[in-house]
Symmetry: C2
Subunit: 482 residues, 2 copies
């Protein structure tokens, strides 16, 4: 705790800080602007806030004691994991009246149970550490995200994280068997059950998954493990249109069943953007095509030569005119090159101009209508923007991005207005197709207005009432989600 008087808070604030210090020790109570800095901005630098202090508990009991102090003093709480979320859900607001509780010191693997295929971990465990612990016993924890080195399991649960293996293994919601959480009054709920079946009433765990820190703080979890893949095949396919991607997905699913682990698509506009901006990458395909699909098959056993089988199927589809071209990775390096193209999208878009990105999901069958609707809308209503598409077509989750010339928006206020108009256009198409305005990124701070606009009023009403049940004082992550 800072002893520098220039950083001191009001006397009642001091009492609270002393109480926090009693729980976590001076070294884990950060109250100076300098010490707190890295907790007050998200990983991408999009959201900045202020806080009374940052508390870094070492275990669940310390989280509970910290929350109990906040509850008594009426102080708002911002739970924070890796702070890598896309919507500002873990960054405090600007008022500086809340306490950030960082889970970063809670990184233990509590238990590995191979016969139950489960792992029990602290919420502060980085995702990569859980993947590693699973791999050490020859198992797989399948959640896979760009930020896996720094994002934490608690944040993955609070945001119901998605990523590139959802098609096969589902999102975080499907991978969590039990949770432990500190409730807004400081009580600990131990729901760390490693049970594959439990029909004893309402499933409270599912309320916490995706609740973005608004119902309590997840402090631990029991996670499902799977067989490790022993074989894989990676292909990049050139397609005449996005509808052809759907037909190909259906065909490949028919022939390979659950082996289809990843099926991503990219519009040519996006593909060329990546290649132009990352000149070290080379397209493994000879020419250009309107769309591309990135496919990975995996199998827990090597009974089938997946590469040859996939090559045969793609050959047949090409014969029939369903695809323009295809290439299969013949080595790990070639596979890596293909994934590198897919993973360079965020960087390429950042460099390309002023980007307005979306995280839409629609039923898989409606993806072509979604793409056409957004493309048309942007062309006619924002003629100086260009539209780009990339995403998880197997999940119906296509990210539509409108990029404007950067020089158009020297005034950030003007950009924010136009971004709102683009959002409204994309949301209109989304809602007309029975889709969701946030497939995997969540609501956080940035999508609240869109949630209010597009969510069923009955659901909003029950969400508010459930929030009041768990957090009647409204201290958990205020300004987030609801």
């Amino acid at each position: 705790m800072s002893q520098n008087p220039s950083h001191r808070h009001a006397p009642e604030g001091d009492l609270v800080l002393t109480a926090f210090e009693g729980v976590v020790g001076a070294a884990n109570l950060l109250a100076t602007v300098g010490d707190m800095a890295r907790y007050l901005v998200d990983a991408r630098g999009r959201y900045r806030g202020a806080a009374l202090c940052v508390v870094r508990p070492a275990n669940t009991a310390e989280v509970a004691a910290t929350v109990a102090i906040c509850a008594r003093a009426g102080i708002a709480i911002v739970p924070q994991g890796g702070n890598t979320g896309m919507c500002g859900g873990a960054t405090p607001g600007a008022q500086g009246r809340s306490v950030v509780i960082s889970l970063e010191r809670m990184r233990s693997i509590r238990e590995v149970d191979p016969a139950n295929s489960t792992i029990t971990v602290d919420a502060g465990c980085p995702l990569a550490a859980v993947q590693e612990a699973a791999s050490e016993i020859g198992k797989l924890f399948p959640l896979s995200l760009g930020s896996e080195g720094t994002c934490q399991i608690g944040g993955n649960i609070a945001t119901n994280a998605g990523g590139t293996a959802v098609l096969r293994y589902g999102p975080m919601r499907d991978l969590v068997m039990g949770i432990e959480a500190v409730l807004p009054d400081g009580r600990i709920w131990n729901g760390l059950r490693g049970l594959r079946k439990d029909n004893t009433g309402y499933d409270l765990k599912h309320l916490f998954i995706g609740s973005e820190g608004t119902l309590g703080i997840v402090t631990g979890a029991v996670l499902k493990l799977f067989s490790q893949p022993a074989a894989s095949a990676v292909a990049l396919v050139a397609l005449p249109d996005v509808g052809a991607a759907l037909a190909l997905l259906e065909r490949i699913r028919c022939e390979f069943g659950e082996r289809v682990t990843t099926f991503e698509v990219m519009s040519d506009s996006e593909y060329q953007l990546v290649l132009a901006l990352r000149t070290e990458l080379r397209s493994p395909l000879a020419g250009q095509a309107p769309w591309y699909a990135f496919i990975e098959l995996t199998d827990a056993i090597e009974a089938l030569d997946l590469r040859t089988a996939l090559a045969e199927t793609l050959g047949e589809v090409m014969e029939a005119g369903g695809i323009n071209d295809a290439t299969l990775a013949e080595s790990g390096a070639q596979a890596e090159n293909i994934w590198h193209i897919r993973h360079s999208v965020t960087e390429a878009n950042l460099k390309a101009g002023a980007a307005v990105s979306h995280d839409t999901s629609v039923p898989v069958s409606r993806v072509p209508e979604f793409v056409a609707g957004v493309e048309d809308g942007i062309r006619t209503r924002f003629p100086d923007a260009k539209s780009y598409f990339v995403g998880h077509i197997g999940d119906g989750n296509i990210h539509a991005i409108a990029i404007f010339p950067r020089e158009k928006f020297l005034d950030p206020q003007r950009f924010s207005e136009v971004a709102g108009e683009v959002n409204a256009l994309v949301d209109e198409v989304t809602v007309s197709l029975g889709g969701s305005v946030s497939a995997e990124h969540g609501i956080g701070r940035s999508n609240r207005a869109r949630l209010q606009r597009h969510k069923d009023p009955i659901e909003l009403e029950f969400m508010r009432q459930i929030k009041r049940v768990f957090d009647p004082a409204g201290l958990m992550n205020p300004g987030i989600l609801l």
Copy 2:
């Protein structure tokens, strides 16, 4: 509606009946004891009740109008599907003051979307009809239960049904993408989204799944479809002990990954009971063993000769002393014979004596301790009973059954007391191993006391508060679950 004065209710009751008749028509309002009879007793004949009337709406709007009448009149509602549940959750109580709303006329397949791999159905659709509709487009709806010909999708959702394919595909909870429900005030909540990803707040759908009709009436659902299996292998294995079953499961999972669709076990006591009572069945194994495993592998493609591969693995495990004996079905008829043994358990137990059955789950790794604990306890505390075990070991869900000589319990009251003592013994072992007293059957009417005794008080508290949020007047399925 009955015009027979001897069956007439009090005048205010008559007004309500007239209102119901206005909604569903005279033919679908049943108010005589005779007409109502089959709705007042569950499929196994274990629970009997009475009702003001039975209403059979044709669609969601009629359900909503019926519920709205009940809400205004303060009349309790018992939602009813196939009435095949094990715990009396769909049978009205004895007072006769509630209205049974039967979904049996709502049996439409509303939409099939092959490219989205979803099917949208009325809640009154029998499970088998959904399986068939999926199969017609070359897909699989994997939920599989003994009662699949008569149980309904709405009931499967309300009870989070399990069955024999949970190991691979998960319980009903994992198969539901969206629901439509009539809320206790008569409003319709349309949550029929066919989205594989949707991170826009608390997941209300998961509250309804497993809520046993206490939060509202599920009237429709969007369900996930899968690739149909093209190949399968079925084996029956003799084992030295239940621990050997776990080791075998682990080995087979390692070698076959997600192909392991079913892995059930049975104690020799149960196996002999089935063979003794169903003399037309023959054991496909030469001798006796303490335990048996029933295994099915399936694959969406025929790339691997599953039968030969499984035979090789079982041969290796037998060489190493891990199993006593094994036989692989060489034809559909042989596979059927093996499953027939497994499926004759309920009937065999009914015939064998006065049975006290349990539906326990523990972490998969703790199954041997559970079996040993229950076996010891029954031997020492109930020396005239014998213990039997059968169940889904891959889900940690073993049904323990204590069977007493029938002549011991000529007095049903005495049986009910002893059954309570046996339950207490089994529950004690269950809870000490971090298990659940109801893995797949639910709570219903019969397990309420056990829920109160063993459920975490924090969870019970939040369950009650959530119930009040949705159903403040307490009209939805009173006496069930909470």
